[in-house]
């Protein structure tokens, strides 16, 4: 595998992708493709649909890289946001699991998982932060993010007022952010000539 761009920041790779450097897109995929696929699979629960969601998200990166604004967030956040949005659109369109119960935020069993150490560490860190949240907040985050449920669906299914759901999501996500300890504000800017 050609990793000649391995030393570049994610943001630099997006800037290169905006200039039609295909190897930059490949490097972004090599960095985030696996996480993207895991996320999509968790949400849509179907391999073919998960592949479609990941493919569409990376092609959106390719098509719109020139409009990416680093001041508004990290490139990895942008990419994973695109993947998540695709996956949620898919699951809502397909009306998958609508008849099912609410256990859908739960982790599916995965066989033959060979994970690299860095990804495992990241996963354990996020899961530990989630476990430290009050149950109601963790449930709201998991059902919304991994289950693809909208806030109105959650209010209905959990039998709670919409305001309660909103507040659980906001407080839960804010706490998660503190737990994961973002290292201060980071602004980056990249140019290619």
């Amino acid at each position: 595998m050609n990793r000649q761009l391995a030393h570049l920041s994610d943001e630099a790779l997006v800037a290169l992708a905006a200039r039609s450097e295909q190897s930059a897109l490949a490097e972004l995929y090599d960095r985030y493709g696996r996480t993207a696929y895991g996320l999509a699979l968790r949400v849509v629960r179907d391999q073919a649909l998960a592949e479609d969601a990941v493919q569409e998200a990376f092609l959106t990166v390719w098509r719109t890289a020139a409009r990416f604004v680093p001041e508004r967030g990290k490139a990895s956040t942008w990419i994973l946001t695109l993947v998540h949005r695709r996956a949620v659109d898919t699951v809502r369109r397909e009306q998958r699991r609508r008849a099912d119960s609410l256990d859908l935020g739960a982790e599916p069993a995965v066989e033959g998982l060979e994970e690299d150490a860095w990804l495992r560490l990241q996963r354990e860190r996020v899961q530990a932060a989630l476990r430290r949240l009050p149950d109601a907040q963790r449930e709201a985050l998991e059902l919304a993010y991994y289950g693809g449920f909208s806030q109105s669906e959650l209010a209905e299914r959990l039998g709670q007022p919409l305001g309660t759901i909103k507040s659980r999501m906001f407080t839960g996500l804010s706490r998660l952010r503190e737990q994961l300890g973002e290292p201060g504000t980071e602004i980056s800017w990249t140019s290619t000539t």
């Binding site: 570049l8 993207a36 592949e51």
Partner: protein, 200 residues
């Protein structure tokens, strides 16, 4: 519906299409919400790393790259787009630091230089890739330019393969960072057009 309340739900993609559109219109007018969304988006994306991630099938990578290559076959030639981006960067730098000699030189075809600036809590690191080493008797010099102020020297570097330069001092908000080529040892004020500049 109080739109300020919807930031977390939007970050989690938990809004219906109509709510999401209303929130996006609100976002274009509300700076506090944009800042909060940037923070919560980061936390939401971190949840992606919480999912078990089996390896995707090999064909997915090939499919994405093949489709990408096919799509980009008939776009504006790279050379032309270089002119545009470069012109803008130089104009932005000129407005901010009044440098002399605004020569716009094209980079050689097939030769890409990447400047990447990361500012963390006011401290900046410049990553430079593909910039040829400064010739004998010359150096590259970084500048931090605050609006309305003279450019402040922020460090010297030789270029060459890949360079990481930690800039001296801090880079306040709204400051511009630029790089010029100067005589060895550096100068107190830029004497040439910037080869790189962040936008104002």
């Amino acid at each position: 519906m109080d739109l300020h309340d919807l930031t977390a739900a939007y970050a989690l993609d938990a809004l219906d299409p109509a709510e999401a559109s209303a929130y996006e219109r609100h976002l274009s007018r509300c700076e506090p919400c944009r800042e909060q969304l940037a923070e919560l988006n980061g936390a939401a994306a971190a949840l992606a790393f919480g999912a078990v991630a089996p390896a995707p099938p090999e064909r997915l990578r090939a499919s994405i790259l093949d489709t990408a290559a096919a799509e980009r076959a008939n776009v504006v030639p790279l050379q032309r787009r270089r002119w545009v981006a470069r012109g803008l960067a130089v104009a932005a730098a000129a407005a901010a630091c009044v440098v002399v000699g605004l020569a716009v030189a094209l980079s050689r075809p097939g030769h890409t230089r990447v400047f990447s600036l990361v500012v963390r809590n006011g401290h900046a690191t410049l990553h430079v890739s593909g910039l040829s080493a400064a010739p004998r008797g010359k150096t590259y010099e970084a500048w931090v330019i605050r609006p309305g102020r003279a450019p402040r020297p922020a460090g010297l570097f030789r270029g060459g393969a890949d360079t990481h330069v930690r800039l001296n001092g801090t880079v306040p908000r709204h400051a511009v960072v630029a790089v010029t080529r100067e005589r060895a040892g550096g100068v107190e004020a830029p004497t040439s057009a910037p080869i790189f500049s962040t936008p104002t």
